[in-house]
């Protein structure tokens, strides 16, 4: 891990630090649900925070700055080009402290989510993991509420089947 220059605290830094601390864990969890890869989730979220800092004066004024960071992170995670760039930019800052790998339950759900079509997966993650409402998801995706409901219905049905199969395999 490289040495990181510590920024002298000021109002802008303080609000960003508090925002980062309050949202990092849950955003990584949401991106892990989306990618099934802890490192990719971590890099995408860190990249999104880095971009948020670049325009923090503006982002801090949004109603939901965390929603902005999540959208950037999902864009980064979705695109191979951006994903590689993020990994290069942030891998050097990974902390040496290790944390246990995701529990079997978490890993099984993440793998099952990964098998869903992207829009169904995104809807499931936003609704069940990020706690967005159907209306909020519809607005973000630019589709009617009914489309989101259909994605959720189909996605849950597919997940139930995939997780049952996984349970059968695990005995």
């Amino acid at each position: 891990m490289e040495t990181v220059r510590v920024t002298r605290p000021d109002g802008r830094t303080d609000t960003f630090d508090a925002f980062y601390a309050a949202n990092f864990d849950r955003l990584v969890l949401q991106l892990y649900a989306y990618t099934a890869d802890v490192s990719a989730a971590q890099d995408a979220v860190q990249e999104a925070f880095s971009r948020a800092w670049a325009r923090w004066d503006r982002v801090a004024g949004y109603d939901e700055p965390a929603a902005w960071v999540r959208r950037v992170a999902m864009n980064v995670a979705t695109n191979r080009w951006r994903r590689v760039q993020a990994a290069r930019a942030h891998a050097r800052f990974h902390r040496a402290e290790s944390v246990p790998p995701p529990s079997p339950d978490r890993a099984a759900l993440a793998r099952a989510l990964r098998a869903l079509p992207p829009r169904q997966r995104r809807a499931i993650v936003l609704f069940h993991i990020a706690d967005l409402s159907i209306g909020e998801i519809a607005a973000q995706e630019g589709v009617p509420d009914g489309t989101v409901k259909a994605w959720l219905h189909r996605g849950r049905a597919a997940l139930a089947t995939l997780l049952t199969d996984e349970e059968d395999r695990r005995g």
């Binding site: 800092w53 800052f93 339950d105 978490r106």
Partner: protein, 270 residues
């Protein structure tokens, strides 16, 4: 697995321990500083060479897409040639807090198209001529009544790859007037095609596998083999790819993913 158990799985997923140790807000700022430094070096090199080639800057990863704030519909940046209606002679009293947003090129740079290393083995680049009736629009035009599915691009560039005497892989990239126009065109494509136009049947066999939007359309004419048409969008850039005799959707998706990455080198939307 019933509904209640599935909800329990989500509850347990949300309720567990953190997955990673945060690198920290200072690390996020440091990454931004390093990127800004890299951009400054790249910009300096451009100034020294007096070369304004946006595609090279894209290749250097100098542009980042950022979404609009939640609840705000994305709009396109103003065109490079747009002049302000009023000019101010007074210098600004404070510098802008963020670097100026990169402008969208007016054309389609060659770097935004596929290269030999992106396409199946054995294909060789044979120039930018992609004339002929290979496109989905050409097929759809033969319907009765004809289906109009020609994207109304403002700039275009093609790439032709050949393998042996008979195998072709063709790509065309269109710059649409705006990102929203490109998105709307791609979203509406399945409806414009329909599923059956008499002698040709259409089916969307894959979607959302690459870029900001993507589709694979299978067109099957009476008595002929199916043709797969790959469409991928990144911002205002829209590409169509066709490989002769290729009927495997997975291969078509791989081409689309490679094309999506290349498109990023031709638009500030990535």
């Amino acid at each position: 697995m019933d509904e209640q158990r599935l909800d329990d799985v989500f509850d347990r997923f949300r309720g567990g321990a953190p997955l990673a140790v945060a690198a920290g807000a200072d690390a996020a700022r440091e990454a931004f500083r390093r990127r800004r430094h890299t951009r400054a070096v790249v910009a300096g090199a451009f100034a020294a060479l007096a070369v304004a080639a946006p595609s090279v800057a894209f290749a250097a990863g100098a542009f980042d897409r950022t979404p609009p704030p939640p609840g705000v519909i994305a709009s396109d940046p103003p065109a490079r040639t747009t002049e302000p209606t009023q000019r101010t002679t007074a210098p600004p009293t404070t510098p802008p807090s963020t670097p100026p947003r990169p402008t969208e090129p007016a054309d389609v740079p060659a770097a935004a198209l596929l290269r030999e290393l992106d396409v199946p083995a054995g294909y060789r680049y044979r120039g930018d001529a992609v004339d002929g009736d290979w496109s989905l629009a050409a097929i759809a035009a033969s319907c009765d009544p004809p289906r109009g599915v020609e994207p109304p691009g403002v700039a275009q560039r093609g790439a032709a790859f050949r393998r042996g005497p008979d195998e072709s892989l063709l790509q065309v990239v269109e710059r649409m007037p705006t990102s929203s126009a490109a998105r709307q065109w791609l979203d509406e494509l399945p409806d414009r095609l329909g599923t059956d136009c008499g002698r040709v049947r259409f089916a969307v066999v894959a979607e959302d596998f690459a870029g900001d939007g993507s589709l694979v359309v299978r067109a099957t004419a009476d008595g002929g083999e199916p043709n797969l048409y790959v469409f991928v969008r990144q911002g205002p850039l829209l590409t169509q790819i066709w490989q002769k005799h290729q009927v495997t959707v997975g291969v078509a998706e791989d081409l689309g993913r490679a094309a999506a990455d290349r498109l990023c080198q031709g638009t500030a939307a990535c």
